[in-house]
Symmetry: C2
Subunit: 354 residues, 2 copies
């Protein structure tokens, strides 16, 4: 099959790990007789430097033509003092909105020989395998008004959702639970927020459509506790944008290897943007030591969710697992009696397996 993929390397180690993902995808294309066509565009700091904006129209247009988008990472100290419209993150928020990528999927699963690096006790974290489904284009990050008032003496941000926006992300949560172990935890603050009350109503209404899914409701503050005290109790968590931002980052450190975590941001028709959970890591950029696994596993998610290439996705995941099992790891990880390698060698090992 022919697929058109836009690469957005972004900043820092983004460029290095994107090139790893491309190598892996080319290996998959050869092995499985696909034809992947790649086109590279700028976003974030790199785009600010080159075009004076974190999200040039040319990038948006290219992404709109693509079957899927791979993004490396955005941001760095160079742009930290910029005014908000000239910050790298604006590029990320902008492309999510422009492509209507409302469903952010963040699977968090420990790798056995990396769990020792978890801040949690091994008996607490062992066996945890969860998926956070975060609403990504609504809520407090996008609502208006978001402005100063009274001559700068007060400020307002706005959390808005339409019922439709809540319904479609809640559906995603239920569907993900169906494909996994059938348990869905909806997180809200329904004891205080009107938006959360509506959220909870929608979840209750949808239950009937998914009789095979067991649902419970947890308040966001309690969820922040339970993720730490008992992460294995969760299967799929569905929640709104801000809560999902905080909880998914919290969850990302539980297994001790954030450099391994992929993510997907999907539109209703399956078009998606895939990016590692880790950031642009400016301190190690350009040194050839970045861990490419999260980006490569994000490419695997792309094959599964945007192209329905399930076998191919599985092969990549198996490749990463078996390279780790053989003891190879980048400098951000530690494996007992393992062998530390750089980005290029790690990528080559994964490609060779494929």
């Amino acid at each position: 099959m022919k697929k058109h993929i836009v690469l957005l390397p972004g900043d820092g180690i983004g460029k290095e790990v994107i090139s790893s993902a491309k190598d892996v995808l080319q290996a998959i294309a050869e092995e499985y007789n696909h034809s992947f066509n790649f086109e590279t565009h700028e976003i974030g700091g790199a785009a600010i430097d080159q075009y004076g904006t974190p999200l040039p129209d040319s990038t948006v247009d290219a992404c709109k033509q693509a079957d899927a988008v791979l993004l490396g990472a955005v941001g760095g100290p160079k742009w930290d003092q910029n005014p908000s419209h000239l910050r790298p993150e604006r590029g990320l928020l902008g492309i999510r909105k422009a492509l209507d990528l409302y469903a952010n999927l963040r699977p968090i699963k420990g790798f056995k020989n990396l769990l020792h690096a978890s801040p949690l006790k091994e008996e607490v974290v062992a066996g945890s395998d969860l998926l956070i489904v975060r609403e990504l284009t609504g809520g407090l990050y996008f609502g208006t008004p978001s402005e100063r008032r009274d001559n700068g003496n007060s400020v307002v941000d706005t959390l808005t959702y339409t019922r439709k926006e809540i319904e479609r992300i809640v559906d995603k949560g239920f569907q993900a639970a169906q494909q996994r172990s059938g348990r869905l935890t909806s997180v809200d603050k329904a004891n205080v927020l009107e938006s959360s009350k509506m959220w909870r109503e929608v979840v209750e209404e949808k239950k009937a459509q998914y009789p095979d899914v067991v649902v419970d409701h947890v308040l966001v503050d309690a969820a922040a506790m339970k993720l730490i005290t008992n992460p294995t109790q969760f299967d799929v968590i569905v929640t709104e944008n801000l809560f999902g931002d905080i909880l998914s980052d919290e969850a990302s450190v539980l297994t001790g290897s954030i450099g391994m975590l992929p993510s997907a941001s999907l539109r209703e028709d399956g078009v998606g943007l895939y990016e590692p959970v880790h950031g642009s890591a400016p301190d190690i950029a350009g040194k050839g030591i970045a861990n490419p696994c999260a980006m490569i596993l994000s490419a695997a998610m792309m094959l599964r969710y945007s192209f329905d290439f399930n076998t191919e996705a599985k092969v990549i995941e198996d490749a990463v697992q078996s390279v780790l099992d053989a003891g190879y790891h980048t400098g951000d990880l530690q494996i007992e009696e393992g062998r530390q390698v750089g980005t290029a060698e790690m990528t080559k090992l994964i490609v060779d397996y494929i």
Copy 2:
């Protein structure tokens, strides 16, 4: 000195632990020649049952006359299905607002012989000692509009702050840092929210007034990660209402003994409401096994923050520590070769020390 204290036992184990705190305060009064006058009022579910509202005017009026308020806990399954204005939590939100208790202080410090119960590895959590200063009467929990729109097809909540509201809580954060080790972490989402940008500006402006305090800014998603990976890096954290709600609950499970954690909610003039971090625990209510320590330590905070009785506060804290050191603990805790006791015996041990 004469002090007038209002007791709000609330629901569940609230009644039991309030009575422990009263015993301890009476012991302090005798020992240090104070006169504490107690008056009990209803709040939460108990108030709903008796007065048809979670916060009767009589309770508000009594609290307004008091030098300080002790609150047990509110909530329980009995009232979980109630419409929002008839939920126990409304009483809590209401009394905070009615008394203008804008500064919520949540100290989190591990007890050596309880740390083994932490979900974190001992080497990660050992030595952590932090104070979260949460804004408590503004932001998303109180902003208007908070309502359904378009015939119920959309919903809005509003996050508002005046500059003054931000300034006074940021001042609290700086002052707390001055009294501790001089480090302040301000948590916001300034890369996205306008309110967070104003928050960050205020913190930057205030720096000059507190030259002895070292300040850094951390995004809320990153803070949720760092609390787990490296809790000892924090001293005082200051943040707005919703972020503080989530982060303080997250932090409360790090040390493995939430049944030991007190909190204070203060008004500008020092009047305050003091309550344990744990909830009403309806499952163990009335059995005489609840851990009274968090409530007793909340009473110690009252002596310190509302009455400036620092010696007396310290005596209570030492009493709790030494009873634990002697191996006594309630059923929610475990101490190797320790002795499990009930609420009454635990309280008596603490009173005897005083």
